[in-house]
Symmetry: C2
Subunit: 167 residues, 2 copies
């Protein structure tokens, strides 16, 4: 099973060795993947790549999600963010329930093509299901393990109960 | 095996249901994890959480890496970034070979505590083993699947052959 989907127009064959886990950039050496112009995402054993989503204007990290090949293809085609929900096991358009769609300003891929960066215009009040703008609303104090988390975004930007109507 | 390590000082017991995959924020509902002040990271089956690393000054996404419990503890204690290399299967201090240490300005955790955000001061010329400042140096054109990647950071900031001396 080849976890690396050939999406690019000039991708060369990828040997099986390149499909082994290779998270550490120091030890990944595949010139075509790193220096080429073909998008050849390295999907994991579950067929997913990590998607990091930042606010295009502020640079703030909004959320981290995952994409399968179909979510990635739909995102590229539509310019709006689609993901794959691991818990629900299905394709998911961000904002399909909440209306909080993400318009993709720029999509980037990393050196070893196992992570994507979406710079987005976040529609609506926020990206996080808890009602906050960002999922990263708590800071971990440095210097001492076990210290209490500090809220950085205490107030909610929207009411999740109202936005994600309970079924 | 409990994948959620208790690092916080006031963590409550985590039931096994919360250890099931739950990537989609909409469907994860654990009030203690989302609204509490205890750091209780949700490590995956390999004992890892995703670490997103941005430049504290520019907001640029530098890299995506992984941490195990020990890497996270060392990062918190030292204020410098430690990761776990999936390919080498070992703890790894960023910059231990290159000198390109990352001083952590702020560490944040996301709603369901399976991802971390490090805002860092990147020492040295860059974070990417290819010699670039960021690992995300190529853009994926939107609108049409299969279009060629576009380089956004063509030039190298450092010579990886010199920095990562071949053994």
């Amino acid at each position: 099973m080849d976890a690396r989907l050939k999406l690019g127009h000039d991708a060369e064959g990828v040997d099986r060795a390149s499909l082994e886990p290779r998270a550490n950039p120091v030890s990944s050496h595949n010139h075509d993947i790193e220096e080429g112009t073909a998008l050849t995402p390295r999907f994991d054993a579950n067929g997913l790549v990590t998607a990091v989503v930042t606010d295009a204007a502020s640079g703030e990290l909004l959320m981290v999600a995952h994409m399968n090949a179909e979510a990635l293809a739909k995102t590229i085609e539509s310019g709006e963010a689609w993901y794959f929900s691991r818990s629900r096991g299905k394709l998911w358009k961000k904002g399909e329930t909440s209306g909080h769609v993400q318009r993709v300003v720029e999509l980037r891929v990393d050196c070893d093509q196992d992570a994507l960066w979406l710079r987005v215009e976040q529609q609506g009040a926020g990206a996080c299901h808890t009602g906050r703008r960002s999922c990263f609303y708590r800071a971990v104090p440095l210097g001492k393990n076990g210290a209490a988390l500090q809220f950085r975004e205490e107030g909610k930007a929207f009411d999740p109960e109202a936005v994600y109507r309970k079924k």
